[in-house]
């Protein structure tokens, strides 16, 4: 097991994230694989998507008034394996946010401890409003849907252009606002909005693969926080629910006090 964890540390993350985006949007297996919820935030209305978006699917089950055993089961299975590792390694929207943050612009640190907002978004936009209105309201506002479906589908299907109205304008405005925010803050959508990350968060302390910190060795240099894509101090709590298990901190720790551990 230790050898496997050491191998993980040698793998560079961005090629995996890029490959994951390409696989999730590889088009050809759509007819077979679209019934499988993907381990990340990838819109099923994207012309090339081969998997189902878990958040869109959950809203659909709320609307048809069925408990989503299958979708929640798949999401929980991924969480039970590695907590939020899919956020750090596989999610295309997480990858986009990290790329945008690399732009050389002034940076703004998000105030910590507002992660609970994500549960407000789940309760209101994924459950309550879809249940009442029978419409997937998270999707109607979702910036990933605009980017992967709203913009390309309008180009590919000219007949849709006549239907463009205020909602489309609102979605574009939300997308632009998030793109700007991503360029100045680390992963703002993941930390304050994403329902999928919110579902995976409680799995971090109980997943099969976790992190552990040797507090005796830690010199509190904060190198881990500097490289962390969600700006947390993992040395204070190895089970932090914000951690996306990217392992960047494990790589940079000068005294080697952060370790991967597992069943």
């Amino acid at each position: 097991m230790k050898r496997l964890f050491n191998l993980l540390l040698r793998i560079r993350r961005w090629p995996v994230q890029l490959a994951s985006f390409l696989v999730m949007n590889s088009y050809f297996t759509q007819g077979v694989t679209k019934g499988l919820p993907c381990p990340g935030f990838n819109c099923y209305a994207c012309p090339t998507a081969i998997f189902a978006c878990p958040v869109g699917s959950l809203q659909h089950f709320v609307i048809i008034r069925e408990i989503p055993f299958y979708v929640l089961g798949v999401v929980a299975f991924v969480g039970a394996l590695g907590g939020r590792a899919a956020c750090g390694w596989l999610c295309p929207f997480g990858f986009l946010q990290e790329l945008m943050y690399k732009l050389p612009l002034p940076k703004w640190q998000l105030p910590p401890r507002l992660g609970w907002l994500r549960y407000v978004f789940i309760a209101i936009l994924v459950v309550a409003i879809p249940y009442i209105t029978l419409e997937p309201w998270f999707c109607k506002l979702c910036p990933q849907g605009t980017l992967e479906a709203g913009i390309p589908q309008i180009f590919l299907l000219p007949e849709l252009r006549a239907l463009i109205g205020w909602l489309y304008g609102l979605k574009i405005a939300i997308l632009v606002a998030f793109l700007a925010w991503m360029a100045v803050s680390k992963r703002p959508f993941c930390r304050w909005v994403c329902p999928l990350g919110a579902i995976w968060s409680p799995f971090n302390p109980v997943s099969a693969v976790r992190l552990e910190v040797d507090h005796q060795t830690c010199i509190e240099c904060n190198r881990c926080q500097q490289v962390c894509p969600v700006n947390i101090r993992i040395h204070e709590n190895a089970d932090a629910i914000e951690c996306v298990r990217c392992l960047e901190c494990v790589r940079v720790c000068p005294v080697d006090c952060i370790h991967i551990t597992g069943v």
């Binding site: 759509q30 007819g31 679209k34 019934g35 499988l36 919820p37 819109c43 099923y44 209305a45 998507a49 998997f51 189902a52 978006c53 869109g56 699917s57 659909h60 089950f61 048809i64 069925e66 989503p68 055993f69 299958y70 979708v71 929640l72 089961g73 798949v74 929980a76 299975f77 969480g79 039970a80 394996l81 419409e135 997937p136 309201w137 999707c139 109607k140 979702c142 849907g145 605009t146 479906a149 709203g150 589908q153 309008i154 849709l160 239907l163 463009i164 109205g165 909602l167 489309y168 609102l170 979605k171 574009i172 799995f203 109980v206 997943s207 099969a208 069943v263």
Partner: protein, 48 residues
Amino acid sequence: MKTQRPWLRSVALLLLSVSAIVLGLLLDQWMITWVNATLLCLSCIGIQ
């Protein structure tokens, strides 16, 4: 308090999630998910 046998907890969680998947499959939820994902979502595009 940390449990003495964390592997047991992880295995239990994995089994629980697999059970949920199986139950969902028995309720034909794979097909419901597939149909919903395959039909073009106008809300995602932002035109309805």
